[in-house]
């Protein structure tokens, strides 16, 4: 199976307030259609790692490969493009643009990518919403829908450009068990049926157990 995402010898320091070695020589791979969860106690550096992987944080040592291409050292604009095209995000908090409609929120990354016509993007976005059972919300403003619905909208947004990998920072952390279950099932389905790779940081033991692989972290190091 092809490797979608590879991390080699990542080291990260926090310089303020005192020099602190957060991540210590982290290396792992994520294969295509693999569902990986990262677990660990608070402060072990898992979120820090995720944001490095997300390419938003560029202050680290080591190398990052996306689809077997080195992306460490690319300019911020190039990284923004890669993030837009190949990486989808789902956050713990829902992070939708509240003044835009649900449909517009989902369409935005695709419009930014600009590879498809407006009609195609709209069609794709509706497909994603339909897949997540929230098609009826398409024209509602983002601030008028419930938390579980928001999370599904942000999943739809993460998927709109058909990314190689979707990353999540506690995507179910803020949801009740019913909605958490729901989100997990959606992720599972995506990885199994669409061949999507998933990398999810979580606290939730039950959630992690059901994934293909668990990366256990402690004190900035990978245990397993």
């Amino acid at each position: 199976m092809s490797v979608v995402f590879e991390v080699k010898h990542i080291n990260k320091y926090f310089r303020k307030p005192v020099l602190f070695h957060v991540l210590k020589d982290i290396s792992f791979k994520v294969k295509k259609s693999e569902f990986v969860s990262i677990m660990g106690k608070s402060g072990c550096g898992k979120s820090t790692l995720l944001y490095i992987l997300s390419t938003m944080d560029t202050d680290y040592e080591g190398e990052l490969f996306l689809n077997n291409k080195l992306i460490t050292g690319n300019s911020r604009n190039e990284l923004a493009y890669l993030r837009n095209k190949y990486i989808g995000f789902v956050f713990q908090f829902h992070y939708l643009l509240s003044e835009f409609s649900v449909l517009e929120n989902v369409m935005l990354p695709a419009k930014k990518l600009g590879e498809k016509s407006f009609e195609e993007i709209e069609f794709d976005a509706m497909e994603k919403l339909k897949m997540l059972n929230i098609k009826h919300l398409a024209n509602k403003k983002a601030y008028r829908i419930s938390g579980g619905e928001k999370q599904r909208v942000s999943i739809a947004r993460a998927l709109i450009n058909n990314p190689s990998i979707v990353m999540g920072d506690e995507p179910t952390g803020n949801l009740d068990s019913h909605n958490a279950e729901n989100v997990f099932n959606i992720f599972k389905e995506l990885s199994q049926q669409k061949g999507l790779s998933l990398l999810v940081v979580t606290h939730d033991q039950d959630f992690a157990k059901k994934t293909d692989r668990i990366i256990q972290m402690e004190d900035g190091k990978i245990l397993t």
């Binding site: 944001y51 938003m56 944080d57 923004a80 493009y81 992070y95 935005l108 990354p109 930014k112 920072d169």
Partner: protein, 420 residues
């Protein structure tokens, strides 16, 4: 790769969702630009009117024979005392004739000069206005009235009658308004004048002259050059003054010096004669621009403030945009385009408001003794003010938007997403 359509649509949504703040920011610009246009139109209109008041009446170069002492006294010319210091007490002015020597050829010479728009001869005479047994002292100036009207806008100061009426009449007079009211005379009446020598002439009043300066209006009257020559019993070439109007007023000082040297006459240029007036104009312009720029800067700060607030409110949005693949430059452009849209809408409205207010001021009655032909407040509709206004609106919104937008560009998405 900049996707303008997406950027503008985001900017538009932001602006519309905060319609109140957007309108207030735009109104700030509107107010600034509108006030600038109104102020500058009104002030320069007023300035121009005051300038015209002086410049139109004043020749750019005034040529005449001055009664003054000779610059070189006879003793200076005597070789024997060449190397000594000569002090002459109680020097008397040299007797010169009042008339300009060879005035007609000089006039022709001046008129042929390319820099000269026109030159008019004048003959100034001291006279008395006679009303029964009362004699009032005054000045009678002989002019070529149509030329005066062409070059010096004398018709603006003729409150009754016309220049044409004077030029068509052999013994007409444009009587000063002050004398007319003193002697209860009006158009169509006759006035007796007497020369210093004592000859009395009746002249027919064809117009009333009012310069706006009461002291002048109480003594000054005009008639045809030929009429004065006839009254004084002098020939056609008897001319005491020549007034020159140039195409470019800036040439006046140099040209007046040249004429002085070439023809041995006194030539005063307008800048020397009215130095204080130039200072006044400069300072009035300075004040106008200082106030206008202050207004525009205040508007600029308004925009800066509101955009800054916008960006703090939109921190989350910025983080999301960045996380979903918008680059820092895209975010910068989103906020810059918001600033520029505010500037453009506010600025255009401001131009419109300015135009409306100027129009309004233009209709307000403004009647004053000093300016007989002015009926409403003067307004200067100069297209450049509008160009400067909109340029400044764009420039200030650009700057006011750039600083907060740059801040938005630099916002670290990770710290916002993690910080919640």
């Amino acid at each position: 790769m900049i996707n303008w359509k997406v950027i503008l649509s985001i900017a538009k949504t932001h602006l519309l969702s905060k319609f109140k703040q957007t309108s207030i920011a735009a109104l700030g610009v509107t107010f600034g630009i509108g006030a600038y246009i109104t102020l500058v139109s009104f002030m320069t209109g007023l300035n121009k009117m005051l300038d015209d008041l002086i410049l139109n009446q004043t020749p750019h170069i005034h040529i005449y024979n001055e009664i003054e002492p000779s610059k070189k006294q006879p003793v200076d010319l005597f070789e024997a005392y060449n190397s000594s210091i000569n002090i002459v007490h109680s020097i008397k002015p040299k007797l010169v004739q009042k008339k300009i020597y060879n005035a007609l050829p000089l006039l022709n010479y001046l008129r042929e000069n390319e820099d000269v728009r026109g030159a008019v001869p004048q003959l100034k005479a001291q006279i008395f206005y006679i009303s029964g047994s009362i004699e009032l002292g005054g000045n009678l100036t002989g002019i070529q009235v149509l030329e005066e009207a062409r070059l010096f806008d004398i018709q603006d100061y003729i409150v009754k009658g016309s220049p044409k009426a004077l030029s068509n009449s052999n013994n007409g007079i444009l009587l000063g308004a002050g004398i007319a009211s003193k002697m209860s005379l009006d158009i169509g009446d006759k006035v007796q004048i007497s020369t210093i020598k004592g000859d009395v002439f009746p002249l027919k009043i064809v117009g009333i002259y009012q310069s706006g300066i009461a002291d002048i209006d109480a003594v000054q009257s005009f008639t045809n050059l030929k009429t004065v020559q006839r009254i004084l019993g002098e020939p056609d070439n008897f001319i005491t003054d020549i007034n020159v109007k140039l195409n470019n007023i800036d040439l006046a000082p140099a040209m007046s010096k040249k004429i002085e040297q070439q023809f041995n006459l006194k030539a005063i240029d307008v800048k020397t004669a009215n130095a204080q007036f130039e200072t006044g104009t400069t300072i009035r312009n300075l004040i106008t621009y200082a106030v206008s720029i202050t207004l525009l800067i205040v508007a600029g700060f308004g925009i800066y403030n509101i955009l800054n607030m916008f960006i703090y409110e939109k921190m989350n949005d910025i983080a999301i945009l960045k996380a979903t693949g918008f680059s820092g430059d895209d975010v910068l452009l989103i906020f810059m385009s918001q600033a520029i849209i505010i500037g453009l809408i506010g600025g255009c409205l401001g131009l419109f408001v300015g135009l409306m207010l100027s129009n309004l001021i233009d209709t307000i009655p403004f009647e004053t003794e000093a300016l007989p032909t002015i009926e409403t407040y003067p307004v200067n509709y100069n297209g450049w003010f509008y160009v400067i206004g909109i340029t400044f609106a764009m420039l200030s919104t650009f700057l006011a938007g750039y600083l907060p937008a740059k801040k938005a560009k630099k916002i670290d998405a990770v710290s916002i997403i993690r910080g919640q």
